[in-house]
């Protein structure tokens, strides 16, 4: 079962449409019970890190998510802010985040580039992950970006005010700073690669 976490600010609808186009049925998870039996869990992101963490706490999602992903090894994909909250802390709202990956989330240097970054940027994938990831253009909307402490978590990078983290992966945990669901055929291909992964969860 593929579960898309649906909190009010998120773009769960678009992720659901993308999955459907790829031939997958999904469920929207609005409470912890909805994650029962999920093999794939997607955390779409729109809005701030602080607001996203607040929503997850209010929905009481975090213990169940940690059980499913960290112990149960369900496949997890965080998109945009959904990637950022994987890290320990974000400069945005000074938010304490999930901390599944070591590192911080920092703001782009507004003295050098326009913030937010909005548009298509070329991603280079720097390590092999079993998703169908190919260097291509993906759609980004972000003011902040992650700095992994352990560089083996870095999956893909792109250039803005310098090289920044475009995708991360550790074991069953994946993160895309770009909106895979809105990145045309390149995004669908990568998203389809994630959905086709086997072995996650219960």
């Amino acid at each position: 079962m593929i579960a898309i976490i649906d909190y009010k600010a998120g773009n769960a609808t678009s992720v659901g449409h993308a999955a459907r186009r790829l031939g997958y049925e999904t469920v929207f998870a609005r409470c912890p019970r909805d994650l029962d039996g999920a093999t794939h869990i997607i955390l779409p992101g729109v809005g701030s890190a602080g607001a996203t963490m607040k929503s997850l706490r209010e929905m009481d999602m975090i213990p169940v998510l940690e059980e499913a992903v960290l112990n149960g090894k369900a496949l997890f994909l965080g998109i945009c802010v959904g990637l950022q909250v994987l890290f320990e802390r974000s400069e945005e709202d000074n938010a304490d985040c999930l901390g599944w990956l070591k590192g911080q989330v920092v703001r782009f240097d507004a003295s050098r580039v326009r913030v937010p970054q909005i548009g298509w940027n070329k991603v280079r994938f720097v390590k092999d992950a079993p998703c169908n990831a190919k260097d291509d253009f993906f759609y980004f909307v972000n003011s902040y970006h992650a700095k992994p402490k352990d560089m083996s978590d870095l999956w893909g990078e792109a250039e803005y005010d310098g090289a920044f983290t475009a995708a991360v992966n550790r074991d069953n945990i994946y993160g895309a700073q770009f909106h895979a669901e809105k990145s045309g055929e390149a995004g669908l291909s990568l998203f389809g690669g994630f959905l086709a992964l086997k072995g996650g969860g219960s």
Binding site: K8, A9, N11, T13, S14, H17, A18, R20, R21, V46, G47, S48, A51, A110, R114, V115, P116, Q117, I118, G119, W120, N121, K122, F137, Y139, F140, V141, N142, S143, E159, Y160, H179, E181, K182, S183, G184, E185, G187, L188
Partner: protein, 268 residues
């Protein structure tokens, strides 16, 4: 590096794309979701839909059309027209839109910008504004609303700065003078705007040939260009495909997401 964006702009009436010249005289072109999908296949970077009769008819935005489009295209799209409240914004976002464009409504109630940015993030709120040259304003441009019919007495540069401060994540600036004239963007206007802004600027009004896009992206810092007439106006004998535009711009050293190799784009 971040590429420049080509944004196809659709005016929608009853779920169908129409094309206007100078804010009047609409011609029917095609159902919104069909044209959207054609543009998607052609590697357009983004889409904007304006429900142009929603405000006048005092109704909410056409959500059914938003939903139809969202099921068929997997690139970002913005919707505007008939957005009056946070509830309207949420409905449009839930239906699958990435961003909401506010225009006349934001002039009447600027708080809609800050409320929208707070609830959904700045990146969801695009401030679109229609401006016209005048000697009366410090910047030389005045803001118009209600389909460019009503002068507001507001200075354009002042208004977009304020919109950014209130939390708009992008500014879409349309030149009423150049709109539909196919004579090129108002470059002086865009240069004026880019100095006032730190968020991305979307230039609108006047594109008629590929050279106009090159000029815009070479002379100004606009990050995105609205195009419509040159893509699908039934009035023009010569429409351009997205591939032609992108090939031309790439050939002139402008950073672009490359066009599709699939060649599915049909003439409309």
């Amino acid at each position: 590096m971040l590429t420049k964006r080509l944004i196809a702009c659709f005016d929608i009436v009853n779920g169908r794309v129409t094309k206007a010249v100078g804010f009047q005289d609409n011609i029917d072109v095609a159902p919104a979701e069909e044209l959207a999908e054609t543009m998607y296949d052609a590697q357009i970077d983004e889409l904007i839909f304006y429900d142009i009769t929603a405000s006048a008819e005092k109704r909410a935005i056409d959500i059914e059309t938003v939903k139809k489009v969202a099921r068929r295209v997997f690139i970002p799209f913005t919707v505007g027209g008939g957005i009056k409240s946070l509830g309207d914004m949420y409905e449009a976002l839930k239906a699958g839109a990435e961003k909401i464009s506010v225009d006349s409504m934001a002039v009447r109630n600027p708080e809609i910008i800050s409320e929208g940015a707070k609830a959904f993030g700045s990146q969801c709120v695009v401030l679109s504004t229609q401006v016209k040259r005048t000697g009366k304003m410090p910047s030389g441009y005045e803001v118009y609303i209600d389909g460019a019919r009503l002068a507001t007495g507001m200075d354009a540069a002042e208004w977009i700065r304020r919109g950014q401060e209130l939390g708009a994540g992008e500014i879409c600036l349309n030149s009423i003078d150049n709109d539909g004239a196919l004579s090129g963007y108002d470059l002086a206007l865009m240069k004026l705007a880019e100095k006032s802004l730190s968020v991305p600027l979307i230039a609108s009004g006047g594109a008629g040939k590929p050279e106009h896009l090159k000029e815009l992206f070479t002379v100004t810092q606009a990050q995105a260009a609205i195009i419509s007439s040159m893509l699908y106006s039934p009035r023009l004998s010569l429409n351009y495909t997205v591939r032609e535009l992108k090939d031309y711009l790439l050939g002139n050293g402008i950073s672009m997401r490359p066009p599709s190799g699939r060649g599915k784009e049909a003439a409309i």
